[in-house]
Amino acid sequence: MENRDPVVHLDRNFWIVTAVFAVLSAISVWYFGTFDIVKLLPESAAPAGDIDALTRFLLMSSGPLFVFVIGYLLYFTIAYRIRKSDPPDAIGTQVHDSHSLELWWTVIPTIFVVIMAIFSVKIWYNIEVAQPTNGIAVESIGHQWYYTFRYPNVHGEIPNEMHLEVGVPVTLHVTSSDVIHSFWVPTMRIKADMVPGLINTLHFTPLNPGTYKIICTEFCGTLHGDMEKQTVVIEDHAHFTAWYNGWVAKTKNVSDAIATTSAGAVPLAGGSASAGQATFATKCSACHKIAPFDQKVVGPGLKGILDDPKHPNLVDGQKATPENVAAILQHGYKGDMGAMPDMTANGLSNKDIANLVEFLKNQK
């Protein structure tokens, strides 16, 4: 078939645009090579630096590829359009293939793939295999829709924040108590899915003190989008030790079993409405507004819940009393209004419940 083909002549314009593309490629390589990813998104732990180096390499090698493909695409499209001066049945140069050209554009991408694979495997090895033998082992458990943390010698689960010490390697085991969640700290550039029944492990070494977001990236239900309110706190040895020893002392008498709801009724005496307001803002306002009952967010509006003539009964059909509201806060709710987690899941203490009831009483 090749014998029939016309001889291919690359004209002067082709080499001019090729030179232009080469310059643009060089610029893109320089731009991405010096691109400071940290300015956009800080790094809080190793291996973020390694992963950024790989990202830079990927950008540097794809820049020229993109420039040449899109460049030739545009150049050919414009330069070889059919013109008014052409007869309407004009045909292009009837070339079928070029073995040397096809060889080149198979070999060069193959070389790129090999380099990229070697680079990726090297970083993969650091992350997954070359694990630190010293350091601290921490666990994080995903719940709908928050994280808890477990430390050696700290009994029970720590809520809210995960504290780590600068420079001390961390082995983080993650799992879930309900559905699949994910543990992602963008500033660390790594994540692991929290799969119920399975323990996944991340290795990293905190580098820069600060407070960094933990984000869930596996869909986990209604409030998945809100599951990014908790943080990793990276701090120096003194601060970390103080925090850690505080939790060791605080939980000395706590059972290691995952906490369950207390059985008896919550004592309501001495609740503080202002403390309740603060708790409401952090624990309840994602699902409930202080608004009439039918203004639903996830759960119903709670304005006047204890004193609403339009809704004399609570969701469970009982008359609204402080004790009933407290019982729902304590045990959670599941029914035709939806589902609300119990006090353990919401991380509420008896005192919190008393405060919340006092706060709700005042919302007339």
């Binding site: 956009l40 998104l41 992963i51 790989l54 990202t55 990927l58 794809s62 590829l65 993109f66 493909v69 030739y72 695409l73 050919f76 499209t77 070889y80 359009r81 059919i82 004009a90 045909i91 292009g92 140069t93 009837q94 070339v95 079928h96 293939d97 096809e102 554009w105 198979t106 990229m116 694979a117 990726s120 495997v121 970083i123 993969w124 992350i127 997954e128 559905v179 699949i180 992602w184 963008p186 550039r189 790594i190 994540k191 692991a192 899915d193 799969v195 119920p196 029944g197 399975l198 996944n200 977001k213 984000i215 990236t217 869909f219 986990c220 239900g221 209604t222 998945h224 989008g225 996830v298």
Partner: protein, 558 residues
């Protein structure tokens, strides 16, 4: 009749009389051309619905706190949007619509091998769509198009309808794959060797076995999920000894090949549009054909790259990473060959050609981000973020959907006998191309900076870019409306197309538009590849196709 004797006998010349009743002609038709058009119409109806859901998503994301719909509704909306786009729009259009209408004509066959099976395949598809969209009535599935358990085990009753709907489309797709494969192997016209087949046929030839093999894995997964939801058989629930990751393996064992089921036929469309409008042979015919086959083979060996963060044994990540990177090589060969096809062509700026050129640009971009994601360390950061959303829309919307639109502009005259309006088509292209890139380009950055996917509310720092995306998405939707308006308007008012408005050289363009019920009065003989514009057409036996001479005598009805 000299040519008729070349291939006397054989199954190809056994012609049944054309059915006359409306129902048998247009509803329960066994004619591959009618079935193709049925797929096309049904697919576009579902595209309208899924597109509306997409706009619900974009309106919700105009504000960081959402508020347009509730979080639960939002989760249902994007889950049905994704499921419908994959199973009710892209796959049926790529295989059912264009596969059915185009390739039997291109290989010189009178129909597919099993016309009745073909009809059954089609008629499983609309009920599946009704089931899927009907799931909103019972509470739609809300765990994304991937429906990972245990989330999907807790899903509303509509989740079981989702299982049934996808199962039905899967059965339809499996049967279509079998049908196409047999047709391509057994029913090519005399002289139509494999290396003379148009590249669209090669693309369908690579796709058909994938539809057959991979879809069965999905069917098993769906059956298991359905049984667990309805009867409590514990496949996936870890509290009863099941494994959530098992679902992920089964699902992606199908869904990665499915990515290529959605793109390979579109590669085929591009490989037809480029030579026709560049007036040049496709560059590197054999390499394009073989790269389709090698992509199809590789696609079965890379599924776990969707699961790098799910808890694979670390050493299992390596082969999946490296095999995934390898796919870049045959894909690159295709892109380079298409671009080389334009070199020294005489390029006609038809709307079909514009969409095909736009396809190369966006698909190249989506392919590059795909290579990024194949690298495990990069994926550990990007997995589950808007970077993934951006990547998949670049390959499936900027890739598949743009290629399919190109295919509609290209083959619409053959289907209807009329041309679509080219001026309106140019507007459609530019609005779509700009709207598309404006919608999805910023998502790459948002994802890498910390915006997870599938969220009804998000960090307010990302709000401005989300508003920009939403506005561009309205432009894209408007372009799609123009496209549909053009299709409807041209049905009556389009210019008469004649048999071959584009000067194309494949067999279907040598027939009247639309072709007769039996396609060919006499099955032609083929002498060469179709793309040599300097040569006479490489077919014999087509002399009577455009004349008034009677077609083949129907076999006696029995």
């Amino acid at each position: 009749m000299a040519t008729a004797t070349v291939h006397a006998g054989g199954i190809a010349d056994h012609v049944h009389p054309e059915p006359q009743g409306f129902v048998r002609k247009y509803i329960f038709s066994i004619d591959h051309k009618i079935i193709g058009v049925q797929y096309l119409i049904t697919g576009f109806v579902f595209l309208v619905l899924a597109g509306l859901l997409a706009e619900v998503i974009r309106v919700q994301l105009m504000h960081a706190n959402g508020g347009f719909v509730s979080a639960d509704t939002y989760n249902e909306v994007y889950s049905i949007h994704g499921s419908a786009m994959v199973w009710l729009v892209i796959i049926p259009l790529a295989t059912g619509a264009f596969g059915n209408f185009v390739f039997p004509l291109q290989i010189g066959a009178r129909d597919v091998a099993f016309p009745w099976l073909n009809m059954v395949s089609f008629w499983l598809f609309p009920p599946a769509g009704l089931l899927l969209f009907g799931s909103f009535l019972l509470g739609a599935p809300a765990a994304g198009w991937t429906e990972y358990p245990p989330m999907s085990l807790q899903g509303a009753p509509g989740t079981s309808m989702w299982c049934a709907a996808i199962f039905l489309v899967g059965v339809s797709s499996t049967m279509t794959g079998l049908n196409f494969l047999v047709t391509l192997i057994k029913m090519r016209a005399p002289g139509m060797t494999f290396t003379r087949m148009p590249l669209f046929c090669w693309a369908q030839f690579a796709t058909a076995p994938m539809s057959m093999i991979a879809t069965t894995a999905l069917a098993a997964a769906l059956a298991a999920l359905f049984m667990e939801r309805q009867f409590g058989v514990p496949f996936f629930d870890p509290t009863k000894g099941g494994s959530p990751v098992l679902w992920q393996h089964m699902f992606w064992f199908y869904s990665h090949p499915a990515v290529y089921i959605m793109i390979l036929p579109v590669f085929g469309i591009i490989s037809e549009v480029f030579p026709t409008f560049a007036r040049k042979p496709i560059f590197g015919y054999k390499m394009i054909a073989f790269s389709s086959v090698s992509i199809a083979l590789l696609s079965f060996m890379v599924w776990a790259h969707h699961m790098f963060t799910s808890g694979l044994a670390p050493f299992l990540q390596l082969p999946f990473m490296i095999l995934t990177m390898l796919i870049a090589i045959p894909t690159g060969i295709k892109i380079f060959s298409w671009v080389a096809t334009l070199w020294e062509g005489k390029i006609h700026y038809t709307t079909a050609m514009l969409f095909a050129i736009g396809f190369i640009a966006t698909f190249t971009f989506g392919g590059i981000t795909g290579v990024f994601l194949s690298a495990v360390p990069f994926d550990l950061h990007a997995h589950g973020t808007y970077f993934i959303v951006a990547h998949l829309h670049y390959v499936l919307v900027g890739g598949s959907l743009m290629g399919l639109i190109s295919g509609v502009y290209y083959w619409y005259p053959k289907m209807t006998g009329r041309l679509m309006n080219d001026k309106l088509g140019h507007w459609t292209f530019w609005l779509f191309f700009i709207g598309f890139n404006g919608t999805f380009l910023p998502m790459h950055m948002l994802g890498l900076l910390g915006m997870p996917r599938r969220v009804a509310v998000y960090d307010p720092q990302f709000q401005t870019w989300n508003q920009v995306e939403s506005i561009f998405s309205f432009v894209m939707t408007f372009a799609l409306l123009l496209f549909f308006a053009n299709m409807l308007w041209s049905l009556r008012n389009g210019k008469k197309a004649g048999s071959n408005p584009w000067g194309a050289r494949t067999l279907e363009w040598q027939l009247p538009s639309p072709p007769h019920y039996y396609n060919f009065k006499h099955i032609p003989t083929v002498f060469s590849t179709p793309y040599d514009f300097a040569e006479p057409l490489p077919y014999a036996g087509l002399e009577e196709e455009l004349t008034d001479s009677p077609g083949p005598a129907p076999a006696v009805a029995h």
